[in-house]
Symmetry: C2
Subunit: 195 residues, 2 copies
DNA sequence: GTCTATATACCGATAGAC
DNA sequence: GTCTATCGGTATATAGAC
């Protein structure tokens, strides 16, 4: 597939399939998954809806292509947790890995954070463990036998790391190193009880 | 179904209009605003879609009836900020008022947090300042002339307070007093640079 | 206030020509 | 790979009887 002139907008080196995914990320992030029609995605790419279906079998398949890499990273981390003993050091390591993983998926961050219901609705059947993963992460973070305050602090710490997914909006020019350092420190301080 | 004097039919002390709103909150929170049809809302109440339109002029009007109280509280706080000088004490007071306000709207918390894009899309024209309010709050919290780290810490602190809106999921049985105390302390610790 | 019935529009998805 | 054309379904919203 080479670059084309006229109404075609395919850039050399980037396949139509990738262009569709990128346009969909942009659209889904601003308008939401359900609020965006495949006709709008196709228009943004410069093709028709029928052509889009040549590359993706369904709207959900397109969403999966967008979400799956981040989802796989998150699952890989969560499934390790059972074998990691809960200690101040391991907490720091797990949080570091998590915030690092989130930063590497920043482009789809807003989509994940602000359109969660639609995504869960669309992918809930395909990934039944989707909801449980966040819960397991919070639970491990709180530690065994955690009381209500500790559980709440763990949930709040996860919220802090969620700020990484929206850092393109809040601090667009900040380096990943700064974001990782600051959010890790912030999350750790949330986990500590009042001084 | 006992009719009462004046306008409005009352079922067990609750008007049909209120019943519609409550059913919509429940449905929108679990399925999302756009994924929920007015037919589903009407079915949950036990009326038809056409009857629902007698009480609410449109789907967006129904959403407004749900969201507006929280939105008004938030705006009232944000519009005071210009006159509040930035000090450790005023930061604590503003955060306290904000988390208190959020806790009082916990029933629509999940809807606001997990379906933001759909809500902004539906109400964006009606409330143009919706997006800006969060930004102004973050900016005030960071203080005048804030650098990137401080700005990021302010955004993360706001994320922590957002945990209040999902506390029904994370710590269903916790008291409002506990949640308010813990999240306020957590948010304040996020704002402080590394020790 | 609630109903039945319907207008109108757009959606996801498919068929088949080129 | 991309197109035109269309199917079947469902959505919001309305009209008018009771």
């Amino acid at each position: 597939m080479a670059a084309r002139a006229g109404s075609g907008t395919v850039v050399a080196g980037r396949s139509t399939k990738d262009a569709i995914r990128d346009a969909a990320v942009q659209l889904f992030s601003t308008k939401g998954f359900e609020q965006s029609s495949l006709r709008e995605v196709a228009d943004a790419v410069g093709i028709t809806k029928a052509s889009l279906y040549y590359h993706y079998a369904s709207k959900v398949d397109l969403l999966i292509a967008i979400i799956e890499p981040m989802f796989d990273d998150h699952r890989a981390l969560v499934e390790k947790l059972d074998e990691i003993p809960h200690s101040p050091q391991s907490v720091r390591e797990v949080l570091t890995e998590h915030v690092h993983s989130m930063l590497s998926h920043r482009t789809i961050g807003v989509l994940c954070m602000r359109d969660t219901v639609a995504i869960v609705n669309a992918l809930g059947n395909r990934y039944p463990d989707m909801m449980e993963m966040h819960r397991r992460m919070c639970q491990w973070l709180a530690g065994p036998g955690a009381d209500e305050e500790t559980t709440l602090r763990a949930a709040a710490a996860m919220q802090v790391l969620g700020a990484a997914l929206m850092s393109k909006e809040s601090v667009p020019d900040a380096s990943e190193e700064l974001i990782e350092r600051v959010l890790l420190d912030a999350a750790l301080s949330v986990l500590e009880p009042a001084r």
